[in-house]
Symmetry: D5
Subunit: 94 residues, 10 copies
């Protein structure tokens, strides 16, 4: 099952540079791990914003929830989720 | 260049069934032509809505504009465009 | 998988009483069929509104999409979908 | 009487981990107590969010108010309340 | 139980004057009947708007729903409902 | 003249418990004084929220402004004001 | 008492030119009558919009309501009302 | 040229009383200076809010910008600007 | 003086093709006339929308209002106006 | 390719004057550098706001993203991006 997920990042201003760097590093490792597992199917940066648009491929909603709430950035994210289906006009197989 | 495009369809209620079918058929052909040309990269249906989420791959904004305003559904679409960039944490090459 | 679905009904004003009654009857039959199949798990009326709040239980998003777009009222519905997971504080088993 | 209640949690960033853990523990006990009493009828987690969707069953509005404002999380909650009625198309008895 | 209810009226423009007058007359009779029964506790006009703010006193939500959906104006109303409780600083008894 | 006033309270998180208690006590005394004077005609708690819905009866807008800005809670209130008139369908005299 | 009133005009598209002209003429006469009576204190056009911003001076809210609902344009107006008071920093007497 | 300007004041909570008093005094002097110069044509308090509605009369937009950004309160203001024109139905000369 | 103006076009669905073409032709002539006069300084199409973003250069607000309300499309436009000033960091002279 | 970009600045209140001045100086140098390179095509101040409206001319979205996220003010900016195309009614060549 596919979900479009937009994540807007808003790190607290009182986070030290060191803490921010550590967090970003953890976030990157986590994101790349999920991509390698096939859960995080697409990942794009939203131009001009500290945000991304992604497509998650998961078995069920608990997996989606675990994947998103496991993000090191999770407490600092505004998340919007759009469930996706196969489109009848789609040419390429899913 | 990639653009995330959400299209919500709102066909006028005074459109006859015949007109609606013709329009839908034209829309499908148009969408599949653009997919084959590589312009319309991804196309998903938004679950529970008469709407789609797509990713367009275009050389420039005029091409994007021409592609979208050429849609038979264009007069009946609410369109939201999000410019996308490569994300630094992306594993797979673009 | 569970989805909270809010449906606000807005029937067009130029629908004759007869057409409206027929549509309502079809909607009721359809809703009761899905309830008997276990897809439409909960169904409540929103007090003071021509709207309902429901919980759908489906295998996947295509099933959810098919169930919702199959509603006779679908063209006249404003639909809001919230994916649900099991809550860690929940006492009763799902 | 039934009320759909959505609660979005926003814990202040200056809360220590210890304070947060204590608060979460109290919140869980409180939620499970109300579930056992039959007041908190349904409790689901909103996928991808620190939020829940619940259905409360109460005698009157004062009971609802007391139940919600008694939540340890109450000062950190954004609450949305939707009064529910029996739906005429519902198959299963309430 | 008390509910604050705001009703904004938007009569369709293709309603004949005669139909509008009949509807308004029925609405007035209905509103006065509910006031006499004690259901419609307070009724004020919102200055400068075709809208009212009211307080309904009902036993339960089904009664509230029946009262509101029974309004001749119901199909042409935008309704907002706010459940009310006794306030701890209130001097006069409820 | 009557005004419907909704007040949503948002006390700053860095207010000590003692300061909060003092403020609440002052607010209660102030509210009860205005009720006894007949200015604060109705006062209800909004179920599930730290908010109230009230009806103020004042001679003029300066009186209304003085009454509201005199609230100890005023700096921490989100206030919404709706001017009210007598409604033509009202049965009981104002 | 003073009220700031913004009025956005949206005449229905099926109004004939003749009907529109008659209505505009009546609206102008009405507006000028209220200005001569001192009720309509200030009247400005909002640049680039079919809208005005006005200040009404009235004894009470019923007068304000009567003045606004008496506008020939009233059924086609979106009205926003802001109650005004004397400002402590104002130099010129009210 | 005339501009309607709404200013909503939101002073930071960590401002000492002394700082706040000084700022308010400066703001008052500044406002009265601009009124005497004829730039600040009208100034009203919004009833029940820490906000004002004003009309500025300026030669050009740079003057307007300088006047507004010169306000001691400027960093703590939410400002909404509406350009105004002479209204064809206005009786009194501008 | 410069104003940023966004115009979103929404032609009524009951406009015949002939009427729409005539209107578009008039709109184009009008827009080009104002560009030649130097009033319509910049004109861009918003990609993917039936809308434009423009910069108008005018002596005063009446000129701006006349220019915009003179548009053949004016009754079918949603207009948003942002007054602009010279920016202190601008390199090129205005 | 052209993009309309609105930037609303919201510097944190705990930034010292010295830090703010340094940041503003860096922002100005950066903005002027991009203007000299032809990337930052137009730059206007929004009257009455700590905001600007700009037009960026870039080869692709990565360049746009790099330009915007490189702004010293970037962490304190609310950014809105509107992709622009050539308008068919434009007289002057692009």
């Amino acid at each position: 099952m596919l979900f479009l997920v937009r994540m807007d990042v808003c790190l607290p201003s009182d986070l030290s540079d060191q803490e921010a760097e550590t967090l970003k590093h953890q976030e990157k490792l986590y994101a790349q791990k999920l991509q390698c597992e096939g859960t995080w199917l697409h990942l794009w940066r939203v131009a001009g914003h500290y945000a991304n648009v992604s497509v998650f491929s998961v078995e069920d909603l608990d997996t989606l929830h675990t994947a998103l709430t496991g993000l090191p950035f999770f407490p600092f994210l505004e998340i919007e989720i759009t469930p996706l289906c196969a489109h009848p006009s789609r040419v390429a197989p899913e």
